[in-house]
């Protein structure tokens, strides 16, 4: 990727429009971007609640909400209802934490978006505007740090409610999120190895040249996706709420806008997780088959196209989130834990070693193997083999331990003999 940075520097030298904006223009552009992102994000989350209800209805052969403005105004009606409702404050709660918890779960879900690049840079009169709020050099680490903060809101909500169901939900979520945080972080290390950087823009640029990571690192994507489902508390990992067991889990005691904040936080973290999957594994905003969006000269239309491509990828993943939610049943708690610790974590570690070994081998074999077609071909074939092996193991079933253990064949034989003898005795009595 050094070649890419060289090209970029070259363009910056040739074209004065290609230098990043600075000073007052930077401030104004950042504020405008903030407003746009916040508005689109919040409206999008509202529409997501409608999409969820519609998709669930269609999957269950129903119509879904179609009364308020043909259904399109349903989110507005829900929002209005949540503002008008009474804010309950149960007698036994720890008041400061009870109020703080929804905020704590809402803010990290929202803040994750500020480092995700959502489009190709735009060239303006004042210089180049990167379509990302804060192009942090440690972008990805920032997101990992923030998403792990989200667990505080849920745990505090569960504890401060002074309700046994809420507490159980909070405990479950803390165990779940901490467990899957690890495999999530581990599964992205192969991506970072390939990109050689933790900045999300450079991960996207690497994929623009080396092909989407999902083709080369399918297993990492698989682990990341499962971990993302667990991180966002979506089915099949919605144990923190588990309506059938825990009433509503950690937000049992919440009402009105405080409850709504938890709801928004869930959808917001879904959007962030989808955006991350798109960025890390599906090429992010990159427009395929053209390099103008990556190294310039930039054009407004291409940037707009890249934004829409990114949005399309996010919407696809959101649909997958909902599709899976209305298909798969919830895991049992012990299955959840053994899937996280006994399967996902070792798999992620093995995969890191494998990819690191392949990359090391490629660099030892010489520089012409280190990028382009050769690297993609070798990584791809290693990936195909590994996926086939993994699929065969998964297909055997019983990876996440069920509540029973295997019986020794001798024991089975003894029980059968016992059973047969009993039957003979009964026959004899007759």
């Amino acid at each position: 990727m050094n070649a890419l940075h060289g090209v970029n520097a070259l363009y910056e030298a040739i074209d004065p429009n290609n230098t990043p904006v600075s000073g007052g223009a930077f401030l104004i552009f950042t504020i405008v971007k903030m407003l746009i992102i916040f508005t689109v994000y919040m409206v999008g989350v509202a529409m997501l609640t409608l999409a969820e209800r519609k998709i669930s209805a269609w999957i269950q052969d129903r119509h879904g909400p179609n009364r308020v403005g043909k259904g399109w105004l349903q989110p507005a009606a829900d929002g209005l209802k949540n503002f008008m409702k009474e804010e309950t404050m149960p007698a036994g709660v720890n008041k400061p934490l009870f109020v703080l918890a929804p905020i704590l779960s809402f803010i990290p879900a929202l803040t994750g978006w500020c480092v995700i690049p959502f489009g190709a840079p735009v060239a303006t009169r004042w210089g180049r505007v990167d379509l990302v709020l804060a192009d942090l050099p440690v972008g990805f680490l920032f997101i990992l740090a923030l998403t792990s903060l989200g667990v505080y809101g849920i745990v505090l909500a569960g504890w401060s409610s002074n309700n046994k169901y809420a507490l159980l939900g909070g405990l479950r979520s803390s165990a779940q999120m901490v467990s899957y945080e690890i495999s999530m972080g581990m599964s992205t290390i192969p991506v970072l190895l390939l990109a050689g950087n933790v900045s999300l823009n450079s991960i996207i640029n690497q994929q623009a040249w080396g092909g989407w990571n999902v083709i080369n690192l399918t297993v990492a994507f698989f682990i990341f996706m499962v971990a993302a489902f667990a991180e966002t508390n979506r089915l099949p990992f919605d144990l923190p709420e588990a309506e059938s067991e825990l009433i509503a889990g950690y937000h049992t005691e919440y009402s009105a806008m405080k409850f709504s904040l938890f709801f928004i936080a869930e959808y917001a973290s879904m959007v962030t997780a989808s955006a991350l999957m798109a960025t890390l594994f599906f090429g992010g905003w990159d427009v395929p088959f053209t390099a103008h969006d990556n190294i310039g000269p930039y054009s407004g239309w291409l940037s707009l196209l890249s934004v829409f491509i990114f949005l399309g990828k996010i919407l696809f993943f959101l649909f997958v989130f909902m599709w899976i939610r209305w298909t798969l049943p919830r895991f049992r708690y012990d299955q959840l834990m053994s899937l996280g610790w006994k399967f996902m974590l070792p798999l992620a570690l093995i995969y890191i070693v494998l990819i690191a070994a392949v990359l090391l081998g490629l660099s030892a074999a010489g520089s012409r193997f280190q990028q382009g077609a050769w690297q993609a071909a070798i990584l791809g074939s290693v990936n195909v083999i590994f996926v086939i092996v993994l699929f065969a193991i998964l297909d055997r079933g019983r990876i996440i331990s069920p509540a029973y253990g295997r019986m020794h064949p001798k024991e089975v034989e003894r029980l059968r003999r016992l059973d047969r003898r009993k039957r003979v005795a009964v026959e004899a009595v007759r």
Binding site: I55, D61, T327, D395, G397, Y404, R406, E411, V412
Partner: protein, 166 residues
């Protein structure tokens, strides 16, 4: 090995949850796009058909001259198991009996249809109608005029000759 439960050896296509998951996803997405398969009845606009023997809101049939057919014989208040019919009989100059007061409390009524069955003049009927909401309890006590004003079709009683209603 905590609990010794026997494991049945099943073929791999039965135990594989990877394949089961994909099958499930295919099923749900099939229903997702099955536009003609939606089963919800959009209630106030469209209504499910009800049986011809549906016993709902009462209705008093009238003669050609627009009077109630009721002759105040007192059979329906007698037979009514819920005791919801209030009948005060009256008599005109020609000696014809007619109901001075005829009230049915729809709240007490259990819609058994005995009143229709017992009526010798085929005057009181239970009807094929079920939307009778009111803002007050008093509104559910239907007087004679209100019973006569009902226009919905009346219930067809069960016929021993034709038990399935064909």
């Amino acid at each position: 090995m905590a609990i010794g439960v026997k494991i049945v050896e099943r073929p791999i296509e039965d135990v594989s949850y990877v394949r089961a998951m994909f099958r499930g996803m295919a099923l749900t997405v099939k229903h997702l796009f099955d536009v003609n398969g939606r089963v919800t009845t959009q209630y106030p606009e469209e209504k499910s058909p009800i049986s011809p023997r549906w016993r709902g809101t009462h209705r008093m049939l009238t003669t050609e001259t627009g009077k109630a057919r009721c002759v105040a014989c007192g059979l329906c208040p007698t037979v009514c198991p819920a005791n919801c019919i209030k009948l005060v009989p009256g008599e005109d100059e020609e000696g014809n009996r007619y109901p001075l007061v005829f009230e049915i409390d729809e709240f007490r009524c259990i819609f058994c249809g005995y009143c229709q069955e017992v009526c010798p003049e085929e005057a009181i009927h239970v009807g094929r109608h079920y939307e009778n909401s009111e803002y007050s309890r008093e509104g559910f006590v239907y007087d004679l005029q209100r019973l006569m004003d009902q226009t919905h079709p009346v219930c067809e009683m069960w016929d021993p000759e034709d038990p399935k209603g064909q």
